[in-house]
């Protein structure tokens, strides 16, 4: 305050010093961000308009890769169907289980922390390890699931080897591995609901279902919305579970879109086609997220 008449020269020195400070603070991150995010995302778009083998010369082909995807590649349709199948099955089961267990765990259960640990552990364990364990459980005839069913006289299907059962098996395993994450979100949401609301409901004598339907569900609907968006995006990107459990088979019945991207790019070395698949996935993710944000007005109640 004392230096009201600071000389002009000092001001420019201060300004220059500030500029260096901005560069120093922002620089490291910004350079990395430009090299490892902005450049690759742009490059990915460019590559998707090329025929780009791993070795050899790239040729610009316009929209050929995208046309191939939609008109000449029946496998792509199969893969899209598989991905939608997984996404729908996974999200519904995941939400039902995670909301159900969150409500259950907050209903005055003892050792809730221990239960939470049990349900949450697969979320933090490497997905590859989770998948390897379930591959053992799914072994036909002699695996635990098949053997357990056999003891009660039921002949189990060849879980991962049958075109009809492979995808449900992958979904089941993925729900086991992933629901704990959403459960934590919902527990936090439920714990934030004022106890007075439930006390009022208790005086009115409402039953558990009504309490859930008219208090818990609307009060945690922002959490449910958030969890649905995140789960949907992660489900669209599923890779490890089919890679380890089924290798995408039998046939291509459990090959999902990221798996297909991997096959095209890094097994067939068709980087152009892989990039156009990557961009399709990105567009779908943006589209789905936009729809969800638009649709939330209808059912999310923000306090």
């Amino acid at each position: 305050m004392g230096k009201v008449q600071a000389p002009k020269r000092n001001q420019t020195i201060a300004a220059r010093r500030r500029r260096w400070a901005v560069l120093g603070f922002l620089g490291p991150n910004l350079i990395g961000f430009l090299v490892f995010t902005i450049f690759p995302i742009s490059a990915s778009l460019v590559i998707s308009f090329y025929e780009w083998p791993l070795l050899g010369d790239a040729v610009a082909v316009g929209f050929k890769n995208f046309l191939r995807m939609f008109t000449q590649d029946p496998v792509f349709w199969q893969i899209s169907f598989n991905t939608i199948y997984f996404v729908v099955g996974y999200i519904i089961l995941n939400l039902v289980v995670s909301i159900g267990l969150a409500v259950w765990l907050t209903s005055g259960i003892r050792f809730a922390g221990l239960f939470r640990f049990v349900f949450f552990l697969p979320v933090v364990a490497p997905m590859v390890a989770n998948s390897v364990v379930w591959r053992l459980l799914f072994v036909p005839d002699t695996g635990l699931f098949a053997a357990a069913l056999a003891t009660i006289g039921i002949e189990a299907p060849n879980w991962l080897g049958s075109p009809n059962w492979a995808m449900p098996s992958v979904i089941l395993m993925s729900v086991w591995a992933g629901f704990g994450y959403n459960m934590i979100i919902f527990i936090a949401g439920i714990q934030a609901i004022p106890a007075s609301i439930y006390e009022a409901a208790e005086i009115d004598g409402v039953n558990a279902w009504t309490r859930f339907r008219h208090i818990t569900f609307p009060m945690i609907s922002p959490s449910i919305f958030f969890a649905t968006v995140m789960t949907l995006i992660s489900a669209l990107k599923v890779f490890e579970q089919p890679y380890i459990l089924t290798g995408g088979g039998p046939g291509s019945s459990t090959t999902t879109i990221v798996f297909y991207l991997y096959q095209q790019g890094f097994q067939n070395y068709d980087l152009g086609y892989a990039s156009s698949i990557a961009w399709m996935l990105f567009l779908v993710i943006m589209f789905v997220t936009a729809i969800q944000f638009w649709g939330q007005k209808k059912w999310v109640h923000y306090a």
Partner: protein
Amino acid sequence: MGSLRMNRGKTLKAALSQTLLTLVAVVMIFPFFWMITTALKPAAEVFSVPPRIVGSELRWHNFIDAWNYLPFSRFIVNGLVVSGIGTAIVLISSSLAAFAFSRLHWRGRDGVFLIYLGTLMIPQEVLVVPMFMIMRELGWINSYAGLIMPWAFTAFGTFLLRQFFMTLPRELEEAATIDGAGIWTVYWRILLPLTRPAMGTLAVFTFIGYWNSFLWPLLIVSDVNMATVPLGLNMFLGQTGNQWNLLMAAATISVIPSALLVIALQKYLVKGIALSGLGGR
């Protein structure tokens, strides 16, 4: 009398609920339990009919065999190096950038931040093709740099810490500035200590993300000595074929660090998920 009956009904209901939930938890933990018991069985008894939880002997030696079959100590060291250095870079570079976005004034700041925001939704999977080509140009295939650097500068950490910085009151730093503190002092001595909870949460999730990452190591690591734990487990799966007891021993070894992490840092994990949906699956 009526209320007594009601209370008894309530206690019964609570006991029933407790028992049922315990049952559910047993079912949920069973795959891991089966993993451990299978890891301790002799090879011939993995698929005994009818299935038996415990084999005729506890073969602890399976763990040693698994450990020596592939260089597992190497996988763990690689995982620690990649996750540790990656997490350090993320914390340092994003907290510096977050400071620039929340406390420094410069032309174009909001525009650049908007670009950062716009990239939050780009999945890693969309970037792997060009990223692979960059790695090839840099000669980073089969290297720590290749495993770490591509994912150490994403917008997420910067975004999260910037949001956190915005909630901190400015009075403290204004007082410090009047006392003659420079920009660095304000960042290092005043803001960073206050940011510890957010930094801790970001650290835990970044570490887990690196540790569990599979697709990227699968693409750029072919040398068994550079594999991280999930990739090593996959190599194990490819090489042992049907030696399930050894494979389960390897799986157990790779789940143990995660279990320890959850036990030690459950608070950070829960807080991080509840507040910001970190590390979504």
